[in-house]
């Protein structure tokens, strides 16, 4: 068999245009990568003299030599864990309902689907407002506590959890369920014993991404008192709190320059936590796609 190289017949103008275009596209992808490295380098460069365990274990302080992030880190862990404990079960149950048990083509279901889609696009700060009106103040009057912050973040990530769980449930081969149904299992048995376990890796990937979004989010908590100066770790849902992103915010708007470097160090800690979470999610997804293809 002979192959003919047709590229020599291409006019030089078209070939040049193609090369230029390919270069431009590659450059813009590289610029995204360059930006990530640039921002991390700049954070590291501003805070390298501060990087030691002290910055992690110290509490917030008005003295730049003693300031650190212990209570914000514990606050973030508390708030985000509680938010995940609330949002994940509700989200996964909703996804199961929509994928496996809902009557198709009912008006209620299409309203529900539209609602979830639009909820995912609501600006984060708006969730802070509903939290302010109903949870921190108003009917629940829970105040500026770990619990109210967690509920607000749970509402914010709920649509994301639903959407990713639905996708991973849909990706489970229908033959699993059909086999079980043919052997006399009820729909619920088939779903609980086969569909749900098979969808766990996909749901986990999406949930980790949702949780890391909650961990990096700052806007809604601005309205819920997270900018407070808190020098103790939370010890329960009613505890006052601050979170890592808001502590960074607070240090970075301080008028003294020393605190801006502490903000950079805090950013590095936050970015390190989020990158780790992202990496776990990406590896998990890689593992599942490879497993599913076999």
């Amino acid at each position: 068999m002979t192959t003919v190289d047709l590229s020599s017949k291409l006019s030089p103008v078209r070939r040049t245009k193609d090369t230029v275009f390919r270069t431009l596209l590659t450059l813009s992808v590289l610029s995204a990568l360059g930006f990530i490295f640039g921002i991390i380098y700049s954070l590291w460069n501003d805070s390298k003299f501060l990087l030691s365990w002290d910055i992690v274990t110290n509490f917030p302080s008005f003295d730049p030599n003693a300031a650190g992030f212990q209570s914000p880190i514990f606050g973030s862990i508390w708030v985000v864990s509680v938010a995940a404990l609330v949002a994940l079960p509700i989200g996964i149950l909703t996804a199961l309902y929509l994928e496996e048990f809902s009557p198709k083509k009912s008006r209620f279901i299409s309203i529900l689907e539209l609602n979830i889609q639009n909820l995912a696009g609501v600006p984060a700060v708006v969730f802070g407002m509903i939290g302010l009106a109903f949870i921190a103040r108003g009917p629940m009057s829970w105040g500026f506590t770990v619990g109210s912050a967690a509920l607000v973040l749970a509402m914010m990530i709920l649509p994301v959890v639903i959407i990713v769980s639905r996708e991973s449930i849909r990706a489970v081969p229908p033959s699993y369920k059909e086999g079980a149904l043919a052997l006399g299992a009820t729909q619920w048995q088939a779903v609980r014993r086969l569909v749900l376990p098979s969808s766990i890796p996909g749901t986990a990937t999406g949930s980790i991404l949702a949780v890391s979004r909650a961990m990096g989010e700052s806007a809604p908590l601005l309205l819920l008192g997270a900018l407070a100066f808190v020098t103790f770790n939370p010890d329960g849902l009613d505890s006052q709190y601050t979170v890592l992103p808001l502590a960074i915010f607070k240090y970075s708007i301080d008028s003294r320059e020393e605190f801006h470097y502490i903000a950079a160090a805090g950013s590095l800690i936050l970015v390190a936590i989020l990158f780790t979470l992202n990496l776990i999610a990406i590896l998990l997804r890689d593992y599942t796609t490879r497993k599913n293809r076999v």
Partner: protein
């Protein structure tokens, strides 16, 4: 399952056994729990509307026509409620963000859909996800202390930018929405049927010609949707605008100046812990209503466009 018909003379009873009846009961309970969970997302939307509307209506009744003034100072005495500075501030920052995000995001999408091999895709997609995962407060810090002094103050030709700038905020917001444009547009371009590409190649088109003239046109509606969703995201961004553009609602057309956006006003006023029912408190909800309604419209339009092209190709 429970309505199995059986004849009285049949030797084998097809009536559900007690074991099956128990299983059916468990399923019913499970389904009602799931239905309740599904209802919660609707309740959240209702909650948002119920929290926004009364305070907004209250304030509108008090101040009415003042919204069309040119000074925004709702927390001062006497207050002034002219929305124009927030509208221009938002518009300028979002426009700058889109000027960054459109070329870079679309280039990344085209690269992913028509240039990258499977393995390159496997590297580039996570890079974009990591970019999307950089917290807004970190982008704000970078914008405030690196982009503003290092870039805007040095090179912006108009006026003398100092400290807070809308340009810096716009650039950082642009970085924030690049991954949204890239991933939604990539979905749209990758959904263009392979046959269309192959037909164009068979006619002698080069890769660039296929990507820009065939695939891009065929996936245009999805590309538009990507831009609409990115716009909505930029519009609602709070922390970046608050940190980099500051909180002075100045009426200006110069991106070198500090400005306030609708979203960053909410964040700024929220920090002050406004007393429930006070004018400041109601103003947060008034601006929040505007933000919510505008992003909702853009999201509905964007998602509808996506649903349309999916229908066309599936």
């Amino acid at each position: 399952m429970a309505q199995v018909q059986y004849e009285s003379r049949a030797r084998v009873s097809l009536a559900p056994s007690s074991d099956l009846r128990k299983k059916i009961f468990i399923q019913r309970v499970a389904v009602s729990i799931m239905r309740f969970a599904a209802l919660i997302s609707v309740l959240i939307t209702v909650g948002i509307v119920v929290s926004l509307v009364p305070a907004t209506m209250d304030l509108l009744r008090e101040i009415g026509g003042q919204l069309f003034g040119i000074t925004w100072a709702p927390l001062f005495e006497p207050p002034s409620f002219g929305l124009l500075p927030l509208v221009t501030g938002t518009f300028i920052i979002v426009s700058i963000a889109m000027i960054i995000a459109i070329p870079v995001g679309l280039a990344a999408a085209m690269f992913l859909s028509d240039y990258a091999t499977f393995n390159v895709r496997r590297v580039v997609k996570p890079i974009l996800e990591i970019l999307a995962g950089i917290p807004t407060v970190v982008l704000g810090l970078f914008g405030l202390y690196v982009v503003n002094p290092g870039l805007v103050e040095k090179y912006w030709p108009i006026g003398e930018p100092v400290g807070y700038t809308a340009l810096g905020a716009g650039l950082m917001t642009g970085v924030l929405v690049v991954p949204i444009v890239a991933s939604v547009a990539d979905d749209a371009l990758s959904a263009v049927p392979r046959a269309m590409r192959e037909a164009a190649y068979a006619l002698g088109a080069t890769r660039r010609e296929v990507a820009t003239k065939v695939v891009f046109n065929a996936g245009l509606s999805g590309v538009v949707a990507a831009l609409i969703l990115a716009f909505a995201r930029a519009f609602g961004e709070t922390t970046v605008a608050l940190m980099v553009a500051g909180s002075n609602p100045r009426l200006s057309a110069n991106p070198g100046d500090g400005m306030q956006t609708m979203a960053s006003f909410i964040g700024f006023a929220g920090i002050g812990d406004q007393e429930v029912g006070s004018t400041g408190y109601k103003t947060i909800f008034l601006v929040g209503t505007l933000l919510f309604v505008i992003t909702l419209i853009f999201n509905i339009v964007g998602n509808r466009v996506i649903a349309k092209y999916r229908e066309a190709y599936e």
